[in-house]
Symmetry: C4
Subunit: 318 residues, 4 copies
Amino acid sequence: MAKRLFKNNSNDFKDLGFGTQIKGRRMLNEDGSFNVIRKGVKGQSIMNLYTSLITMSWMRFNVIVLSYYLIINLIFAALYMLIGKDSLIGESANNLQDHFWNAFFFSAQTITTVGYGYIHPSGMISNFLAAIESMAGLFGFALATGLLYGRFSRPVAKILFSNKAVIAPYQGATAFMFRLANLRSNQLIDTNATLNFSMMVKKDGVEKRIFDRLKLERDKIDFFPTSWTIVHPINENSPIYGMTEDEVNESDAEFILLLSAFDDTFSQTVHARRSYKHYEIEWGAKFPPMTGDPENNKTVLFLDKIDNTIKAELPTSD
Amino acid sequence: MAKRLFKNNSNDFKDLGFGTQIKGRRMLNEDGSFNVIRKGVKGQSIMNLYTSLITMSWMRFNVIVLSYYLIINLIFAALYMLIGKDSLIGESANNLQDHFWNAFFFSAQTITTVGYGYIHPSGMISNFLAAIESMAGLFGFALATGLLYGRFSRPVAKILFSNKAVIAPYQGATAFMFRLANLRSNQLIDTNATLNFSMMVKKDGVEKRIFDRLKLERDKIDFFPTSWTIVHPINENSPIYGMTEDEVNESDAEFILLLSAFDDTFSQTVHARRSYKHYEIEWGAKFPPMTGDPENNKTVLFLDKIDNTIKAELPTSD
Amino acid sequence: MAKRLFKNNSNDFKDLGFGTQIKGRRMLNEDGSFNVIRKGVKGQSIMNLYTSLITMSWMRFNVIVLSYYLIINLIFAALYMLIGKDSLIGESANNLQDHFWNAFFFSAQTITTVGYGYIHPSGMISNFLAAIESMAGLFGFALATGLLYGRFSRPVAKILFSNKAVIAPYQGATAFMFRLANLRSNQLIDTNATLNFSMMVKKDGVEKRIFDRLKLERDKIDFFPTSWTIVHPINENSPIYGMTEDEVNESDAEFILLLSAFDDTFSQTVHARRSYKHYEIEWGAKFPPMTGDPENNKTVLFLDKIDNTIKAELPTSD
Amino acid sequence: MAKRLFKNNSNDFKDLGFGTQIKGRRMLNEDGSFNVIRKGVKGQSIMNLYTSLITMSWMRFNVIVLSYYLIINLIFAALYMLIGKDSLIGESANNLQDHFWNAFFFSAQTITTVGYGYIHPSGMISNFLAAIESMAGLFGFALATGLLYGRFSRPVAKILFSNKAVIAPYQGATAFMFRLANLRSNQLIDTNATLNFSMMVKKDGVEKRIFDRLKLERDKIDFFPTSWTIVHPINENSPIYGMTEDEVNESDAEFILLLSAFDDTFSQTVHARRSYKHYEIEWGAKFPPMTGDPENNKTVLFLDKIDNTIKAELPTSD
């Protein structure tokens, strides 16, 4: 009995990790991240610090680094002032009237190890503080070097997806399609696509989310030089076969793509994800080509044409 | 004859590398490392130096780096003193009375390349020593940069495991279960689980350890956004089918999980291991959900609920 | 009906991503890159900046770095001059007459953090500017460190291909052959080859490009110590079986190799690509060995013999 | 006819890339590298520079770096002397009598960016030279940082192999065995072994090298915590079945192991290779265990016992 039950519930084993009760909200965000918040564990921000610093925008990264530089110098300047007026000597007397700014610029000269020497520490405590500060400066700089390299060298696929999927005529029937292109000049090879599907289904009065993997016309390409149109032919094996546009919308349907490729510039495997909700599907449309006339004997790809669609009559079901 | 023997002893070929005589001690430690000491080879600590420096705690790493900085400066200060009082000149006379501390701070200014210049070397030998020291400083700093980057960028899966496994009711029968969640915000995909099992078996009066791979309800998930409950259904194919709690405890049983996943932030495959000994199993319990009400249209995962279990009556075997 | 059409057009699913209308131009350039231009997206050069800096020649990279160093110093020198004559003081007065060059060299001393101190900033604004410049210097240097490491450590297969393929006699019939060798001393293992083929075909008066994967005598070698001759036997299963040299030339044929191997020095998978157009095929030739007499008990491989071919009569088709 | 020939010569397709005429010399050196010299291409040493600097011994690497530091300083010292006595001014007059050593130490202070300033450049040309030198110093240091990190972080399997293989009694018959252990404390998982075999065979009076892949008792282990004995059972399917010790020696036999594993500390796949020539086989011996009594509830592995063998009578063939 347990055995039979085990076999019949095979849909439970395809829930993608989101559970069967999720309704009315995306599973994947537009940027491909999971639509999930983690709670209940302290130290998450520390644990994710490197990941955050590596993945944040350059603007934000630079602001953080400069702020950090400013704050550290303010702290050390305050410490030199605490030690006393005689902690820093040299020509500074006739240079800057303000003791604080003297200390501040001395700190900057120490932490960057530029060390002009026209201001320099005097006495045990300030010498010790300067030794610590220059050491800290080197360490901070080592951190920055690592972070900059980490930011640059992280292999990320920059894939451009069409912002809408279409239901297009296809070989006498219809197909679900969207397309994608490689934004970067990195060469992608061995590109694989996996398309998952999910919708709410009512059975015996209970609503439940089901999951399925969709068959693709082609799920692997050796090279990915131009654009690739992902095509799921809607035939008897498709879970949306025979459904109307309204039925698909009511079912809270979501199509989830997982793309993997070998990036030949970084010699590493990269991934991209994209989900299309039912309201991101255009019914009765198809994608015109993205390539133009060859130039200098080269194929030309127009990346700004990726969202172009043209109306295309769907075959009537009869 | 040799042929037949070869076929019958197939259990020997699944010993996981721990041998068949291990008893009463864990094979895997709680942190997933092998419970093994290596002896008889010199230079192990040198060979494992990088690994140690990369994997030790930040606290310990910082203490080691600071101690090293202090010791190097003490050594060079001693060397400058050995050369003589005139080795370092400049304003230092009226700065620090103590020649040793003068030498110490000059060393710090040299090794960090801050080089204020208010103290500077005089004479062939001290100039040469300072040239060596600044070079050594750059090298040490290059090492630190590499180590810091190595520590940060090492792709490690931070998987949170439930501290107990349970024997839970499952589809009219029972199943062995435990659960896990991704602690970090890194996105894990293509997650695979392999569950090995081992126990002592008495045959013809001889006790011997046997090994087996356990069938899982699901051994692969495309996405790993929330938590994952690993389920081994206890049916006729399970090596613990029909055993009582006392029999499992006496057999010195150990369940060993090997988890692999693709970390999409680092674009690398990561692994995690966890073993459950018989005394870490709770009989007649099940795991309540870890997710709560959605917030801002996002699924919420409570990581602190991972160890929660609730009593659940097991079906009687008849 | 839709079903039958789906099965018959299976050639459409092997178009390698170049489409079926490409004619008279290479799909792959000689260096293995795709013969494609991307247009229509702004910011491409920023996005590809790291890739460019990592893959450009050393000559160009060094010129860019030195130019950048020069320009930055010119800019800061101009800024110090804008602040005024008193912005930089010290012995400079009797050193360089020209205020601009004083500022320029002070800038160089600041950005490299060498900071002799014989020229130094005076006043709030120039001190602040110097603090910013030394910080920028460290940052620029961190960038350079990362780029240099990225350039060095990028795992790239340096594969030497014969510049011509041959149609050679082979086991009583003929075969399409070319050969390749590992230029570097890195050890390549688990080497795999995939050979794709494409030509124009006229059907019902319409010309269309078809694609096919060619069978190889051997498509995988465990080790790659010397040279490897890729052999496609031309038998009934080959798309060029029965074609004459003129027919192959008129069909605008292109043979595309995709090679992958595990580089044991970098512990990473590397790839190489090479295409042969019909005009790069020598009919009736074969490759003589590239190895010579052993020296010091070692096999000797002559890499400069890779392009050597000798005439070889092809069997007549009867 | 061509077809039949193709099928019969299947041994040609397993030549491992060494050809069939290699005799009396190893294919793999003891360290696992290919026993091959590459000739005929210029620039090989430049192309392999990074690989050499990354793989050479620490002793040699440090000597090269220090020599380079010395030579660069000598060159710059000579250049400052060429410019003239007035190129470097400051307290140097009463410091070092020798102008050359003054220039030498100034160069060291500049290239390391320590820049005390008590000697400093004077005049356009020497200022320019110093600006170039400090820039070059930063660049050289960036290179050193990258190289040091490259040396440390390169994932290399340190596998200890028994220096002899044995022909041991095995399940009533015999087997070819050798063993290996992980020298480092890194955790290896998913370890795979492939054993290739090669010997000279005389056929119709012509001697030719044949290649074969040997069946192993077990070719994959999930974990590799202690030691692993590779076992090739010598039964009817083995190419050396029925051969005597003398016949094996005369055939110039070589056993070649290719090992791959996932290193869990570096999260990368690592490889090791080892070949055993016929004269490295001990007939009639077996390996005693390498583990000792457990300490602190931990299994103890004695790595120095790896070469231990004990005599073991082989079953007579009748």
